[in-house]
């Protein structure tokens, strides 16, 4: 029976002790809880925003001071009441310079301390206070090391928040994009074969053993151009018309339809893809021209801006007259693409 009594007493004592009723505790100022200071830039000696949050276990009565004091050479010089916003939970509290006015909190800056004095309102125990400094004037970080923000005053609670101030909290990231232009020619040799006066002759990549066999328009070569140049590119051609010693086949100075029996040398171009365009006089379908010379280039195509690849299909025409001098005629046409960077 005695053991049962002792056992019961011990059980009660256990519950009593566990509940905390046995030994009342007292402490001085309560510690603020859930404290943080989010600094916009932790670089030493740099101005930065601060978002300071804390929970007050005691609450804040009217007319009480909340003092924020930074160490480690942090400077609050220049901060004004207009640079700060205060929230009690989600509710904004207006801050004015000097002493509080009505429900407004008063604000005083005595570098490196900021003192708020509460107005006629109160903050309920357990509320979260958010103080944001992100106005025109900002707090200047101290030197490399730990900066501590102490939160004191006579409102009943105290706290401290440590921040790591480092020599440089910013990472500079760099990259380079090179100017690029792509250009290719599908073939470097094209052939007409033996020219005649009865039909139009078009060049191909196959050298016919005798008379011209390509009498309908066909692609002789194509070139492909593309670039990331902001103002695009220009493709030009340079070179003589077909010549044989001192003799030549007359180049067409403007877009002209093929006519067998007369001297004609020219090209016509179509395009596909990209944003490049064929230049005049080479853009008219079914008509040919050739305005370049050995010394003077002629523009074949352009793009006004960066463009993906445009494929240009080049068709070559050559016709002769009955009096055209006999001989082997040839030329070299040089294609050049220039990016406009």
């Amino acid at each position: 029976m005695i053991k049962k009594i002792i056992s019961s007493v011990l059980m009660l004592a256990l519950v009593f002790v566990s509940s905390g009723f046995a030994f009342p505790k007292s402490a001085n100022a309560a510690n603020l809880t859930v404290m943080s200071d989010t600094v916009g830039n932790l670089t030493a000696s740099t101005t930065s925003s601060h978002v300071i949050k804390f929970t007050t276990p005691t609450g804040i009565a009217t007319g009480k001071t909340i003092i924020l004091t930074f160490d480690n050479s942090t400077s609050t010089t220049g901060l004004a009441s207009t640079d700060v916003t205060v929230l009690d939970g989600a509710n904004p509290i207006t801050v004015n310079a000097g002493v509080p006015t009505g429900a407004n909190w008063g604000f005083a800056n005595t570098n490196p301390a900021i003192t708020f004095t509460t107005g006629s309102g109160t903050v309920i125990a357990g509320h979260v206070i958010t103080i944001t400094f992100n106005g025109t004037n900002k707090i200047t970080n101290g030197v490399v090391g730990t900066t501590v923000l102490r939160i004191t005053g006579n409102f009943g609670d105290t706290g401290a928040i440590s921040m790591a101030i480092i020599s440089n909290g910013v990472v500079a990231v760099s990259a380079e994009v090179l100017g690029s232009i792509s250009f290719s020619l599908s073939n470097n040799a094209i052939y007409f074969g033996r020219l005649g006066t009865g039909t139009n002759c078009y060049a191909t990549t196959t050298n016919p053993p005798g008379n011209c066999t390509q009498t309908t328009e066909v692609e002789a070569i194509n070139f492909v151009a593309g670039t990331n140049a902001p103002t695009g590119y220009t493709v030009s051609i340079q070179g003589d018309t077909l010549t044989s010693g001192a003799n030549s086949i007359t180049a067409l100075p403007a877009a002209t339809a093929p006519t067998p029996g007369g001297e004609q040398f020219g090209i016509s171009i179509t395009k596909a893809g990209g944003t490049g365009v064929v230049s005049s006089p080479y853009a008219t379908a079914g008509q040919f021209a050739y305005t370049a010379t050995a010394l003077t280039p002629a523009t074949l195509a352009t793009a006004a801006a960066a463009t993906s690849n445009t494929t240009y299909s080049v068709r070559y025409l050559a016709n002769i007259a009955a009096l055209t001098e006999a001989g082997s005629y040839s030329t070299s046409n040089t294609y050049v693409a220039t990016g406009n960077f």
Binding site: S26, S36, S162, M163, V177
Partner: protein, 332 residues
Amino acid sequence: MLNLNKKIIYLSYLTAFFAVLFFPLAYSYAALSCSVTTAGLCGAGTVMLRMSGSTNAHAELPSQSTAVYNNNVVCCTGITGLGNSCAVSNSENFAKLSGVTNAHVELPSQSLYGNNACLSSSFAGDVITVGNQATNCNGYDTTLFSMEKTPTNSQVGIPTAYNNKVCAKIFSQRISFNISSNSIGFGNLIPTGLRYATPSGTGSSSEAESLNISISTNAPAGYGLYVRGDTLKNGAIAITPIGGTNTTPSVGSKAFGLRAVATGGNGSVVSPYSGSGFAYDANSTTDKTVAFANTGNGVTTTYSIRTVATIDSLLNPGNYSTNLTYVVTANF
């Protein structure tokens, strides 16, 4: 057999009772340690209070030197910068004395006596908590002394002398943050492959660490690591940020992003930066969380940051750049 079972139950109650009574339930962060010893043995410690005896004693402030008080001084150690000044900003009053010597003592909450005894620290990040409670100093680091009665007009003694204990705790806030490199580069971006920024500035065609960030803290609620800053830009021309979904960018499309890998400590990378792909959803005015720890265990977590970019074939040539600001916020 029945009696044996009763004895076992009885002993269980006893064990539980004393366990609750004597073992601290709260985790202790600081190393403040105080004991009553002689002034001569306090050595490098700091005297917080001097007493005329081990029990039924009067007290005097540490600034006094009455000989008989030399045999019972409250001597504290374990905290760098520990002091007994009431004048420094980081101090806490743990008792009030009726005089500078030969004094009775009252709790700090009382207002009859005007001679304060304080525990202080030169480090503002040392959070000092003092208080009094019965029986023990559970929840605190150490017991300073005991009072014959509360709240005022009390004699004092060593911690075991009386039931009313005067207790103290110091939590030394710690936060460290390091960025391994403040300048990284991709080299030449190309539309035919991904490029990864490196500290050398030349970049890499295979995934590589751009920089690493090391963080440790003992903040009870851990920390957050945030990034802020634009995507890569050349004037008004921007390389498209990947956004808030972890993605491996497509070759030949404009993309900029980063990801992080954590090692050590208890920090974790958060989505969208935790996947095998990349993301970037911050901008010049909006921070985004890269990593966090729910508790500060004092162990360093190192975050390896990898940064990726690629372009399409039409992107204007030029130098593209941005500044990314990394911020760590401890939650004390």
